[in-house]
Each structure stands twice: as structure tokens, then as C-alpha cells.
Symmetry: C2
Subunit: 439 residues, 2 copies
Amino acid sequence: MVRTRPLKVALLGCGVVGSQVARLMTTHAHDLAARIGAPVELAGVAVRRPARDRDGVDEALVTTDAAGLVSRGDIDVVVELIGGIEPARTLIQAAFESGASVVTANKALLAQDGPALHAAAEKHGADLYFEAAVAGAIPLLRPLRESLAGDKVNRVLGIVNGTTNFVLDRMESTGAGYGEALAEATALGYAEADPTADVEGFDAAAKAAILAGIAFHSRVRLDDVHREGITEVTAADIAGARKLGCTVKLLAVCERAEDGRSVTARVHPAMIPLSHPLAGVREAYNAVFVEAEAAGQLMFYGPGAGGAPTASAVLGDLVAACRNRVTGGLGPGESAYAQLPVSPMGEVVTRYHVSLDVVDRPGVLAQCATVFADHGVSIETVRQTSSGKEDGGAQVVVVTHRATDAALGATVEALRRLDTVHGVASTMRVEGDQGTGSR
Amino acid sequence: MVRTRPLKVALLGCGVVGSQVARLMTTHAHDLAARIGAPVELAGVAVRRPARDRDGVDEALVTTDAAGLVSRGDIDVVVELIGGIEPARTLIQAAFESGASVVTANKALLAQDGPALHAAAEKHGADLYFEAAVAGAIPLLRPLRESLAGDKVNRVLGIVNGTTNFVLDRMESTGAGYGEALAEATALGYAEADPTADVEGFDAAAKAAILAGIAFHSRVRLDDVHREGITEVTAADIAGARKLGCTVKLLAVCERAEDGRSVTARVHPAMIPLSHPLAGVREAYNAVFVEAEAAGQLMFYGPGAGGAPTASAVLGDLVAACRNRVTGGLGPGESAYAQLPVSPMGEVVTRYHVSLDVVDRPGVLAQCATVFADHGVSIETVRQTSSGKEDGGAQVVVVTHRATDAALGATVEALRRLDTVHGVASTMRVEGDQGTGSR
């Protein structure tokens, strides 16, 4: 089914990922043609600064007129790697209107405006693929959208931001504080000069919104995702986790409520047992656990970022979009038929690790325990240790059973008000307690 | 795009997997219809023994006339879960001739006759999906065929047989011998009454053939796969591996030669470092490592067998095949354009762990080392320990650097012929030495 007219691809953005896409399209041209059933060629590359030297990209293809490129009329697939909301959104819409399919890695735009993009793709009979938007090179969205299309996903639990995983891994392995570990990540190129999007959890939250929407066949917006970053995580938190046989990871957690009538999506630091496969994910790697009714527990692991890995995901989508052009097929569109509402964070059911600085005298532990009981929160373990100092301070560390986040939050508030409690040293959620087949 | 005529599915085989497929088609009917864009119904179930009670399957649908069912003319998708070569092959061919698409979990048939099946599918414009044939519920073939379609896969390294992993895991964790661990696997239902296909590596070899064919876009037949089972693995082998910081796994290894001009595929027990993610795969779980040029190292992990997990994979394929019926699309067919030849085992480059019983006197270690050198095999570590017995025996344990399997095999043969060597206690390949981001 090889046809002679080449498929034409417009590349928007030629940075770390885009330059790798351009390179691989050249070096793998023979393989791509065989796999697609037609040759594929780079028809134009839109950039902001044309003067910059771009190894391996034909200068004649470079333009600053992105809008003109996507609207040329002869483009089969537009690959959008600019990122951010505008001008990416306008360019993608223009691409669909010109009859092109779109491959994008733009998680922020998808999390904010996914439904409108999907609607435009459907209206024009085009494809919208975005594997690279979540977990870089790891094939995750295609398995969720297609391989698990006959199953019921109940939970997605993952490490989806490489920068924060690198920082937390360094804190874990060296005992460093947050600032020191972040400085190392920046020096090594794992964190950007302005790390806000990563360390405050915005990047992971956008990915959580995309994952939850796909997993639960519902619309989940960025605003629906509860978000906490890692800037408050201390070396003491990580040492405390270690005492419980846990480590601290920034997790994206998407869950179907037990009654099946709603879903939740959240991003926050959490303790997970060292025996959990996610605990072993080091440096800037990503990994995502998926729990489905029939399939059971699946894990997907790999590089979550980087030019070449992300380009691999983009090219996989590019081959799919091109193949559909050749065969007349169409990839899966938005699937939001289930229309499950997103519950607020207070309704999430989870476990807490609470560390309290208290007065060291008989009865204080019982008094704290009563506060938990009064809020309907059951305690799994409690440990009291004297500080050994003359001022008589002691520490009470509690790990709870599962309860709503609202009840846990109210419990902590009430503990703060006890005059025997000097302060709440830390609170952290505990996840991943289900047994698995991996040690 | 919902249409009213339901898609009709014929199910061939209603055992452990088939009964779960039938159950999920009923309980998930609403979701399947929404995801496909049309309702889907079970039109017939072909079985050998109709009298058996089948929970949840309408008796009126059950037939012993499988050939009649697939040739009815109104079947959209045939799901083949009989297994084995015949009558499965004839029925699948008949299904294509009647215009149906086919979903199968039949690894033996695909490894033996894949090209003919793909040709029949292509001739009739139908789909052939087989995700469930390799690694059960783990989405692996779709990611390899589609997500990595723009990348170059260099290596696939995996645990693809749950029974043997269970046996080796038990040997590792309890110190039991092979026979005892197999008996436990049988008692717990992880091994069949006749475990030959699993323990001799036939099942894993069929999966390796399928994986290698897909990964390298070439044809790899079952006969091309070097195969060794786990029946010769002893408790001493596992104890020896532990001394090196390794564990023993039955691995399927598919590799592109360094010059890119040929590929190899093999199944054998191998030592892998405890730090390698595959070392942590316990019980009957499966996991597959994929190394691609741009994507880097990816891992896919999950239940490799079982009724519900395998049914999940079947249903994912069923949704894809049905969607294509609705949209007029066609899934990827056979991709064997690269036509890379399969090299024999002797050309595989790997490492060996060799344990020798030798005479305990000066010069023997040097004599052994000379044999390695004479065959061009470089030694990484050598360790000599006296047995402490009066007869003066000693043990020499060698781990080699990478060399061809032929050179390693010839080295071991030559060692056997030394009169200072009482015997070769064990030889085992060592894999998975590349660093990864997981501890």
C-alpha cells in the first residue's frame, strides 16, 4: 500500500524535543516510510529565532511564520512542540481547520482546553495524538486509551514529574535538604532556572488531569486537581518516612470512588512503602501504576523527559497519524461519555502520617488519641518518644487507617489547638499500601 | 457515530479466559458500546463439551460447531481462545474468508504460522490482534507496534512466563530445589499437570519469536529461538547467583546485533543483578524491558496470565477491532520489511558464570585462566575457594566479560578436558548488567 506522494509534516518549535524529532525523521526516513506505507517529509519548521544554528535541519525549511505554515493547505500532520497556551492553541485550531492532524506534547494546553481541541479534531475528521504530554517516552496514554479499552480502570498512581523525583531521590540518598537537592538538580540540568512549574506540582497536576480524564472516560480539568508541591518537604520528613519503611515521592493519584459515582485527582508528596515498585524509581525516571478491574496491577516505567525520549513518543504518534492518512482510519477521539463528577479533596479517602511535638507527661498520648477518635479517624500505629531534653518535650508519631481527607485535616486542626501540643511537626499522606507481586 | 446494528462477536473456547471474556462483555456492555461507537453482542460460543455448566453464558449461544459459527457470514469479530495449532488455524482462516476480524491469544500458532495469518488478514482487509498472546494483561505488543513505531528497538529482555518465574522465585526465597518448588507451583495452580511447555521454555520461546518479529520488523520463527528451560537449575545455582549479588530468572532476550545486520532471540535461565528491575519481579508476574534508541529503557510490568487479566487484553483488542469496523479503519498489519536474518546462538554476545571443581594445588587457577584467554574470552572476576576437605578439592568461580556464546561454550568444553578439572559444576549466562534508573 505504498503511495508515492510523501506525507508532509510541519514542525512547530525546534528546541530540545523538536530538534530530535527533525533528526529522527531524517535518520529513520526509510523505516518510517515502511511503517507508514508512504514516505514522510518535513515540510517546514516554525521557530521564533531563525538565526540560531540548527544542526541537521535544512535552513530552507525554517520559518518564523507558524500560522502561515499550518495553513498552507498541503500539510498532513502538524507537530506542536511550542508548549504553553498561546500561540499553541490558535495554531492547533488552524491546523485542524486546514485539514491536518495534530501531534502535540502540550500537557498544559490539553489539561486546560482538551475538550475544545478534541471537538475541533472530530469536526474536521482529523487525529489528535498526545502521548508525549504525559510521562515522556513511556507508552502510557495509548495503553490506557486502547489496550485497556475493554477494562475498568479504578486507579492511576504515578511519578510523572522527573525534576521532583530527582530532587526527592537526592534528598533520600544523601540526606540533603530541599534547597540543596534542588540546586544540584538545577546544576545537572534536571531543573529549569525557574523550577516553579515542577516543584509546585503544576506540571504533574496537568498530567493528572489528562490521565484521570482518559482513565475514567470523563472530563477532568486542571482546576479539579488538588495540588501540593514538594517545597515543604524536609529532610526530617524523609528520615521519618524511612523509620516507617517508606520513602517520599511526589505522586499523581487518580481514583474512582468506591461507589463508582465520582472520581478524584490529586498531586502531593506522599510516603510509600519501600516494598512498593514506585519506591524504587530513581533520579528523573517516571513510572505509573495502573489498577484495572480485570487486568489487575500494571506498571509502566521509563524516562519521563529529555529530548530523544520525548521525540520517540512524538514519532510514534506521528506514524499513527500518518498511517491513518494512508489507510483512511481515525484514532480514538475524546471519550468522556461516563461524565463522572470530580469530588473535592476532602472526599478523598487516604491515610495520614502525623508527627506532633507534645508535652512529655502521662495522659498526653491518650488525649491526642481521643482527638483522632472524635473525628472518626482510626489509628493504625502510634509511637511516643521522649526528646531527652530538660524541657520535657516528647514526640508522638501517628499513622492512621484510611479516612476522608476532610476528617484527617480537621483532626490535625484540633490537635494544633490542644495546649499539650506544642506543634504539628509534619503531616503527610501515606499511599501505595496494597500488596503487589514485586518486592 | 453510534450505529444501531450491533457488532457480532463469535467466541471460540470458553475456558478460563473465554468465560471471563463472556462475563466482561455482559457486565461492561454499556461501556463497550460507548467506547466502540456501537453496541456489541456475543453471537455464539463454540465449545467442545456443551454440557458443562457455564455461568452467565446464555445456553442458546453455545454450539459445538465452531466452523459453522465462524462461517455464518454475519460475524464481525472472531475471538479465538482454543489455543494450539489445529483446529485454531483452520478456524481463523475461515473467519478471515468470511470477512471477520480476529482477536487471538494463541502464541503457539502465531509463532509457527504468523506470516500466513497476517497475509490472510491483509487479503481480506481484516484485523488480526493478539495482545493477549504475550505477557497476558500487560499492554506490550500495542506499545511495541504503535507507540515505538517511530523509534528503533535494540533489545527486548523479559520475564514472559509466570509459571517458571513462580518456581524460580520460590527456589530463591525458600532455598528449595527445583522439584519441590515445582510441586508447590502445581499445588497452587501456577503450573499445569504437564508443565513441559512452561518449564522447558517452549511457551517463552513462542513469545520471544513474536516479540522479536515485532521489535525488529522481521520474521522470526519458533525454530529461530534458542531455548533452554529451568529443569536443570539447582538450589546451588541460585545460591551461587546470590553470592554475586544476582538472582536467576528465565529470560526471553531478543537483540539486534551491534552492526544492525542481524538479530537473535533466545530463552534461557540467566543471572541478573538484584539491582535490575527484573530481579524484583516475583511470583507469577511478568515484566518486559525494552531498550530503544531514542526512548531509552522502558519497562512494562503486570500479571502475565490468569483468566481476568488475559481477558482484559482480549477485550482491548476486541474494542480496537470493533472500532475499526465502525470507522472503516484498519489496525497495523505484519511489519517484516526489515527482513533481518536471525543469527544462531553461537553469535550471541553475552557473559558467562562458570563454576569449576578443580584439584587444589598451585597453578590450577592460572591453567584455567589460560584456557579462557586461548578462546579469546576475557575474565571479569575469578574466585578460588578450597573445599576444606581432605581430598584437596577446590572450587574456581569465573565471571567473564562479554564474548560470543560459541567462544564461551568452547571454553567450557576445553575446561572439561583439563585433568586438573574434576568437573564443571555449572555454567549460566549473566544478563542485565546495564545501569538503570531503578534500584
